[in-house]
Structures are given as C-alpha cells and as structure tokens.
Symmetry: C2
Subunit: 158 residues, 2 copies
DNA sequence: CCACATTCTTGCAGTATGCAACATTAATGA
DNA sequence: TCATTAATGTTGCATACTGCAAGAATGTGG
C-alpha cells in the first residue's frame, strides 16, 4: 500500500472514530443526571450478561472488585439493580437489572441507534451498501470481539 | 430504506464503534501509569489548540472550571504543562504543553495509528478503497466537526 | 478436621466532578 | 473619574471512581 493510500484510510477511520465517540457521548447525556458513565457500563454488562457475580463483573469492566462493589452498592441504592445471595453458593451474590435499570439501558441504546440511523439515512443507498461492506471488512480484519455478550471494555459503549 | 438494510448498516456501524473504542483504550493503556484519561484529554486539547486559558479549556472538555483547574494543577505538578499569566490580560493564565507533555500525546497517537494501520493492512486494496469512500460518506453525513483543532469532546479520542 | 482458594467486604489514599462563594482584574456607563 | 457589572481564576465542600491491602465468610480437597 502506498503512503497516500495509507494516510487517507487512517485519516478517514480516525474521523469516523471521533464521530462515533461523539454520538456515544450524546446518547449518554440523556441519562447523565441519573447514572454516571461507569455506572452505565455496569448496567450494559448486566443487560447483555444477565445475572452476574461481583468478581465476574469486575473482570468484564476491567476494574478492581472493590470499585465494582461500591458501584453496585450505589446502583442498588438507586433501585437500578438488585443483589441477592446465590443459593447454590452462599459466598457469591448475584446482581441483575431491575425494570427501571433496563429502561435506562434501552433508552440510551435507542437514542444511539436513532442517531446512527439519522446519519445513514442521509447517505445514498449505494453509499449505505458500501458502508456495510466496508465496516464488515474492517471488523473482520480487526478480529472484532463484539459478538453476543462479549463486552471487552464497553466504554462509552452501549 | 428497508428494515433489513437499516438493521444491517446499524449493526455494522455499532460493531465498528466497539472495535474503535477498544483500539482507543489500548492505545491509552501505554501511558496509563503517567496520566489518567481525563488528564490525557486535556493534553490532547492543548496539542491541537495551543495556548489555552482555563475557561476555554473547561468548555472544550465539557467540565466545570474547578475541575479543569485541579487537573491543570496536577499536570503542572507532573511537568506536563506550564501555566503563566497572560500579559495582555492579567485575569487569565494560559497553559501549554511542555516537551514532555507533547511526547505523551505523540506516543499515544502513534500507537493508535499503528493499530489502525495494522488492521487495514489485513484488508485487500479494494476493501481499503471502499473503506475510505464509505467512511468519508459517513463522516460527511454525520456533519463531522473533526477538522483542524475542533475537539468537541475528545473522549478516548486522540 | 485442617489447609487452601474463592468471594465479598471494608479501610485508606488519590483523582475527578460540580456547585457555590470569593478575590482579582477588566470593561462599561454615568 | 468612579461605581457597577462582567469575566476569570481560585478554593471549600460533597460525592463518585479507582486501586491496593487486609480481613471475614464460605467452599474445596486432602
């Protein structure tokens, strides 16, 4: 690949990256008065992962277990998650979303999808098709871990 | 646009978003022992914006001025930025990167570009061309503010 | 039963964050 | 000119996020 080609594709990808991050930030702003970003990440994990124990949650979020502990405390106090001891193993306690918690995740996700939909709707059908193919190839080449329930470190990620 | 088309393009874009966020996070990990994420955002703004006063910095980062104030204090203590009173207006003090601060920004940026380059190098030339076009169209449709020095809210953004 | 591992929990320290109050400096108007 | 107002930086206070380390409760293997 020649240098100009290289520079062009990197520049294009970086611009797209900024745009996507901005979209993620805006979609999150809608609930910023109810949950913080780290708290929202925890809700997202619960949304895609179901009942989760503390240690697993800490690994999925890539934070210390004490950090996950206190976040869970606050979310429980806010009524967005519930925690109960696992009857199968009384050492661990499982947490899951309340209806209210799920509502928040759905709200942000819907907003995010709406924003992306609004953008792609301004593209021509040919451009849309090209975008699908190009992103598929990019994701493939990137060894995308983004399959069902695999949240490596969902940052402003929903 | 039909429903399947819509779902396919949104799904593709969301997957790409996750991949790009993961790349941003990894590129940042290299300096995680020297600066925090918020601190790095401040360095990025200074890198693209030159000398900046406190209020402007706070607006660019979308944080309270007191938050920007203390972050600047810590970065100054770490020797990554310097602050000096503006001779033109003694109310305001301008801050700018030190050589050391710029080194950190460059290091992360280079790492990010390397990761993207590695991914696109695994794509065929035709796929790369398609990616450039598709991202350009997407950025255009998104009204991308990502021009020179325009950092709306550069999160894991470099 | 005892040693060990797993899991959760709490204490401590540093950073991030916003609001509100204050001092200093500049701009504005009478 | 001088008083009022605006802009800017700064600090106090409260809350949240973060990791490390130590401890308690529970389970597992010998």
């Amino acid at each position: 690949m020649n240098g100009e080609d290289q520079a062009a594709v990197i520049s294009a990808v970086l611009s797209g990256s900024r745009l996507l991050v901005a979209i993620a930030a805006r979609s999150l702003g809608a609930v910023a008065d109810r949950v913080t970003l780290p708290q929202f990440r925890m809700l997202v994990v619960l949304s895609g992962h179901g009942e989760t124990k503390l240690v697993t949650m800490a690994e999925l979020l890539d934070v210390n277990s004490s950090t996950a502990m206190r976040m869970a405390d606050r979310l429980a106090a806010a009524g967005l998650v519930v925690r109960e001891v696992n009857p199968m193993n009384r050492r661990e306690s499982l947490m899951r979303l309340t209806d209210e918690g799920r509502r928040i995740v759905d709200q942000v996700t819907a907003r995010r999808r709406d924003e992306i939909a609004a953008i792609v709707s301004r593209m021509s059908p040919a451009e849309r098709q090209a975008l699908i193919s190009a992103m598929a190839a990019f994701n493939e080449a990137g060894g995308e871990p983004a399959e069902a329930g695999s949240h490596p470190l969902g940052w402003p990620d929903a």
